[in-house]
C-alpha cells in the first residue's frame, strides 16, 4: 500500500459503511463481554442470518464505550445518522430492538433501557485517545483506515523530517501518561540526537496499578492507533524496531495486537518500506510474567532482553543507553495513543485542551463509590468535583464523599475539601498525590483511611523485587506497623517509627516502586491523622472497618470525643 492507495482504501470503506441501512455497535471489550455481550451477539447474528440481512446491516463488535458498569452496551446507527444507545441489554431485548429498527416490531423481549447520549457522563468528556473506541471493530483494519488511521504516518513520511516530528510533539506539550509526566517531546529529541547504529522504540503496556485498565482498553479497542504512533516515533528518533510490552494478564490485548501487527504488515503499513517509503519499522510483542515492577522502565527493558526483571540504577537513562545498550525511547501506551492525533490535527489543536502545563486529556478508570463507573477521558484541568459528580454521577445511596484515590500504590487520597482542585500534574502533586497512570477510586465515609493505606503498602511489599534493602525489608516493616495500627495494638512510638521508615524508604530506594511506596501512608497521615490517632490512642476505627482487639479507652482526648457517639450508635 502506498500513500494514494491508503486514501482510496479509507474512502471505499467509508462509502461501504454509509450504504448500510443500519449499523449495530456492540461493546465487545472485556467488562461488557463479562456482562454478557457475547450472548447478545449470538442472538443478533442468528436474527441476521434468519432474515438474510447481511447485505443491509452489520454488527460492529467495538472496543470499550465507557460506562462499563452498565454493560452490555448496544448502539444503533441508522443510515440517516440517527443514533440510540441502550444499557444492560439482554439478548431478547437486543432482538426486539433490532426488529423494531427494521420496522418489524415484536412484543416479546421487552424494551431495553435507553441511555441519553447527551448525559453528563458523555457530554463532559473529550475523546482524543478513545475517539475510535466505540466506532471500530479493533480486529478490522479497514474500520481503522476509515477513521483515518495511518494517515498521520503517511503525512510524516511524506512531508516531515524527524526533527519536525519531534518539534511538533514538543510543541503539543504532551507529557508522559505512565505516571511521571515527563515531556514526551524532550525525550524524543534526546533519543533522536543520541548517535548510535541502532535505536529502539518501546511501548509500555504493563499497566500494573490495581484497578487500572486504561492501557488495556486502548490496546484492545484501537490497536492500530498504537502501532501507527510507534511507527511515527520510530521515524522521528531513527529506530527500525519497536517492542510492545504487554502484561501477561492481558491475553486479549496481546492477541489483538498480534493480529493488528500482521494485518498492518500485510498491507505495507509496517515492516520494510512502510507505505512505499525508505522507512522500515518492525514491531514485536513481548509478554510480561506478572510482576508490577516490570512496568518500571529499566526493569521492563531487562525483561525484554530476557533476564530477571529487576530495575537497574539510572543514569544512564534509556534515552542514552537502553535495550542492548542502545538509545531507547520508552513511552506509555496512552502517551503513544495521543501521537497520531497530534500529528494529524496539529500541535496547536492538541494544546488547546488542558491547562498551561498539562495539555490534552487524561483517561481515568473511574471506580469505587460512584454511580457511573467506567472508563472516561476528560480534559486536563477539569475539577475533581466535576469528574466525581458530573461524569461519575455522584455517589450512590446518598453516601458522603470522603476522598478520591489517584495514582494507585504511588499516589494518595484527596479529601473532600480539595474537590475543586483542577486535575493536572502539578496540582495533584501539591496535594501529596500524583496523576499516576489513571486509576481513580472514589471513597465514601465508610472507608477507613489507615486501612486503605495498609492495602497499598501490602501491595508494594508483595511487588517489591527484593533488590534493595530499604524497599525489600522497609515495606514489610511498614506493613507490620500498619497491621498493628489497624488491629489496635500500636502505640504512639510505632507511629513515629512508621513515619521515620517512610522517609527512609522514599529517599533511599533504588527505583520508583520503593521511592513512592510510602506515598499512601504519608498522604493519609497528612489529611486523616486523626483516624490514625483514633486507632492508636482510642483503639477505635471511626469508619467501623477495622476489627480492633482492644477495648476503647474511655478518657478520650478532646479531638476524638465525637467518636464515642459513633461507637454508642453501633
Amino acid at each position: 500500500m502506498n500513500h494514494a492507495s491508503l486514501e482510496i482504501a479509507a474512502e471505499d470503506e467509508l462509502r461501504r459503511q454509509q450504504d448500510l441501512r443500519l449499523r449495530i455497535f456492540l461493546c465487545y471489550s472485556t467488562p461488557c463481554v463479562a456482562a454478557g455481550a457475547d450472548r447478545v451477539r449470538k442472538v443478533l447474528d442468528e436474527l441476521i442470518t434468519e432474515h438474510t440481512l447481511a447485505a443491509e446491516l452489520e454488527i460492529v463488535a467495538t472496543g470499550c464505550m465507557g460506562p462499563c458498569s452498565r454493560g452490555p452496551l448496544l448502539r444503533l446507527r441508522h443510515a440517516n445518522g440517527s443514533e440510540s444507545l441502550y444499557e444492560q441489554v439482554e439478548p431478547e431485548q437486543a432482538r426486539a430492538l433490532l426488529l423494531e429498527a427494521l420496522d418489524e416490531p415484536s412484543s416479546e423481549g421487552g424494551t431495553a433501557q435507553a441511555l441519553a447520549l447527551d448525559m453528563p457522563f458523555f457530554a463532559r468528556q473529550t475523546r482524543i485517545v478513545l475517539s475510535n473506541n466505540s466506532e471500530i471493530d479493533p480486529e478490522n483494519l479497514d474500520h481503522a483506515l476509515a477513521r483515518g488511521s495511518y494517515g498521520a504516518l503517511s503525512k510524516v513520511l511524506q512531508d516531515m523530517t524527524p526533527a519536525d516530528v519531534c518539534a511538533e510533539i514538543t510543541r503539543s506539550g504532551l507529557r508522559g501518561r505512565g505516571g511521571g509526566g515527563y515531556p514526551a517531546g524532550v525525550k524524543w529529541e534526546l533519543v533522536r540526537k543520541s548517535p548510535a547504529e541502532r535505536k529502539y522504540v518501546v511501548a509500555n503496556g504493563d499497566e500494573g496499578d490495581p484497578g487500572a485498565y486504561m492501557d488495556r482498553t486502548i490496546m484492545e479497542s484501537d490497536p492500530h492507533r498504537l502501532l501507527e504512533s510507534m511507527a511515527i516515533a520510530g521515524y522521528a528518533v531513527g529506530a527500525e524496531q519497536g517492542y510492545l510490552y504487554v502484561r501477561g494478564e492481558y491475553p486479549l490485548a496481546a492477541a489483538r495486537l498480534v493480529k493488528a501487527i500482521k494485518a498492518a504488515e500485510r498491507r505495507g503499513l509496517l515492516g520494510s518500506r512502510v507505505l512505499g517509503s525508505n522507512f522500515n519499522f518492525r514491531v514485536d510483542l513481548r509478554v510480561g510474567a506478572g510482576a508490577f515492577v516490570c512496568g518500571e522502565e529499566t526493569a521492563l527493558m531487562v525483561s525484554i532482553m530476557g533476564r530477571r526483571g529487576q530495575p537497574v540504577p539510572r543514569p544512564p537513562y534509556p534515552a542514552q543507553s537502553g535495550l542492548w545498550g542502545m538509545p531507547t525511547l520508552i513511552n506509555n501506551v496512552e502517551t503513544f495513543a495521543n501521537v497520531a492525533p497530534i500529528i494529524a490535527k496539529g500541535a496547536d489543536w492538541f494544546a488547546s485542551f488542558g491547562t498551561e502545563k498539562s495539555k490534552g486529556t487524561k483517561v481515568f478508570a473511574l471506580c469505587g463509590e460512584v454511580v457511573n463507573s467506567g472508563l472516561i477521558e476528560v480534559p486536563m484541568g477539569i475539577s475533581l468535583r466535576d469528574i466525581v459528580f458530573d461524569v461519575g454521577g455522584g455517589l450512590p445511596e446518598e453516601g458522603r464523599f470522603k476522598a478520591a484515590q489517584t495514582g494507585g500504590p504511588s499516589g494518595g487520597c484527596i479529601p473532600a475539601d480539595h474537590l475543586d482542585t483542577p486535575v493536572d500534574y502539578e496540582s495533584l502533586q501539591q496535594l501529596g498525590s500524583i496523576m499516576g497512570s489513571g486509576g481513580l477510586i472514589v471513597m465514601n465515609d465508610r472507608s477507613c483511611m489507615p486501612d486503605v493505606a495498609k492495602f497499598f503498602v501490602e501491595f508494594c511489599r508483595d511487588e517489591s523485587c527484593g533488590k534493595c534493602v530499604p524497599c525489600r525489608v522497609g515495606t514489610l516493616e511498614m506493613y507490620q506497623i500498619m497491621e498493628r495500627i489497624t488491629k489496635g495494638s500500636a502505640n504512639m512510638h510505632d507511629l513515629e517509627l512508621l513515619e521515620d521508615l517512610c522517609d527512609l524508604v522514599q529517599e533511599t530506594s533504588l527505583c520508583g516502586l520503593g521511592m513512592t511506596a510510602p506515598n499512601p501512608v504519608h498522604n493519609t497521615l497528612q489529611y486523616f491523622r486523626d483516624e490514625y490517632l483514633a486507632h492508636i490512642r482510642d483503639k477505635h476505627c471511626p469508619a467501623g472497618v477495622c476489627q480492633l482487639d482492644h477495648v476503647p479507652v474511655l478518657d478520650m482526648p478532646e479531638h476524638a470525643s465525637h467518636l464515642i457517639i459513633d461507637r454508642e450508635e453501633l
Partner: protein
C-alpha cells in the same frame, strides 16, 4: 588518561574519567560504607549503604554506581546519611537471624563490622525471624540462609569471575533467596567447580567452609583483586 576534578567533602580531588564516586573516594582515602559492592565484580547498587549527597540532585545517589563527573560536589557524611545508613543496617539485622555469638563469622563479618563502625546500637523494628534452611550437601562448603543479606556477591563472583553461574535468585521481595543451579542442593550442582570464590566473597556468615565452628570462619574478599590483577595485569602477589 583524561582526568576530572570534583569536590568530595569540601576537598578538591581528581579522578579518572570512568571512575565511580566510590572509586574516587577510596583513591583519596575517604571511606564509604559498602556491603553489596566488591572490588572486581560488577556494581549492583542494592544495599544502599554507600548513598552520598550530590549537589544539584535532590536524591541520594549510590557512590558505587554513580560515575564521577567534572565539577561534581559530593558529601559522603551528614546527619541524614548517617541516620539512614544505621536504619538500613537495622533492617538488615531484622530481616533474618543474626545471633553473632553463635555465628561462624563472629568477629570476622562485614555486616557486624559495619554495625560497629556506624554506631548501630539497637534494632527498633520487628525481628522477622524467618525459619530458613541450611544447605550442607556440598562436601566442602555450606550455606546458612539465615545469615544471608542478599548482597548477591556470590552470584556475581561465580558468574563473572569463575564463569560457572551456579548461584542465582529465586522468588522476589522478602521471599528472595539465593539458590544453586535450578534450586537443587548445592552438593548435586553440576556447574559448581568447588573453587570457593563465593565463600570468600560472602560478607557474612552465610557461606562458610564446612567444619568451621563459631568465629572460626575467616574470609578474604581481597583475593578477588589479586586474581584479577594477575589475570589482567600479569601481576601476581599474595
Amino acid at each position: 588518561m583524561p582526568v576530572i576534578t570534583l569536590t568530595i567533602d569540601e576537598a578538591l580531588v581528581s579522578a579518572r574519567v570512568g571512575q565511580t564516586v566510590l572509586e574516587a573516594c577510596r583513591d583519596e582515602g575517604i571511606s564509604i560504607p559498602t556491603l553489596c559492592h566488591l572490588d572486581g565484580i560488577s556494581a549492583r547498587g542494592g544495599c544502599r549503604l554507600c548513598l552520598v549527597e550530590v549537589a544539584g540532585s535532590n536524591r541520594l545517589l549510590p557512590a558505587c554506581t554513580t560515575l564521577a563527573a567534572e565539577g561534581m560536589q559530593v558529601s559522603t557524611r551528614s546527619d541524614r546519611i548517617d541516620r539512614y545508613r544505621r536504619m538500613i543496617l537495622e533492617l538488615s539485622f531484622a530481616e533474618r537471624n543474626h545471633q553473632c555469638a553463635v555465628c561462624v563469622s563472629n568477629q570476622n563479618c562485614e555486616l557486624q563490622a559495619l554495625a560497629a563502625e556506624l554506631g548501630m546500637e539497637q534494632v527498633r523494628y520487628d525481628y522477622l525471624d524467618p525459619d530458613l534452611s541450611m544447605d550442607l550437601s556440598h562436601e566442602r562448603f555450606g550455606i546458612d540462609h539465615n545469615r544471608c543479606v542478599l548482597c548477591l556477591r556470590c552470584v556475581r563472583v561465580c558468574d563473572e569471575v569463575e564463569g560457572a553461574h551456579t548461584w542465582d535468585v529465586k522468588a522476589r521481595g522478602i521471599e528472595s533467596q539465593v539458590i544453586t543451579d535450578l534450586n537443587q542442593p548445592w552438593g548435586e550442582s553440576l556447574s559448581c567447580t568447588s573453587c570457593g570464590k563465593c565463600v570468600d566473597a560472602c560478607p557474612t556468615g552465610a557461606l562458610f567452609t564446612r567444619g568451621a565452628t563459631v568465629a572460626e570462619m575467616h574470609k578474604d574478599a581481597g583475593f578477588l583483586r589479586r586474581i584479577l590483577d594477575g589475570r589482567e595485569k600479569r601481576q601476581w602477589r599474595r
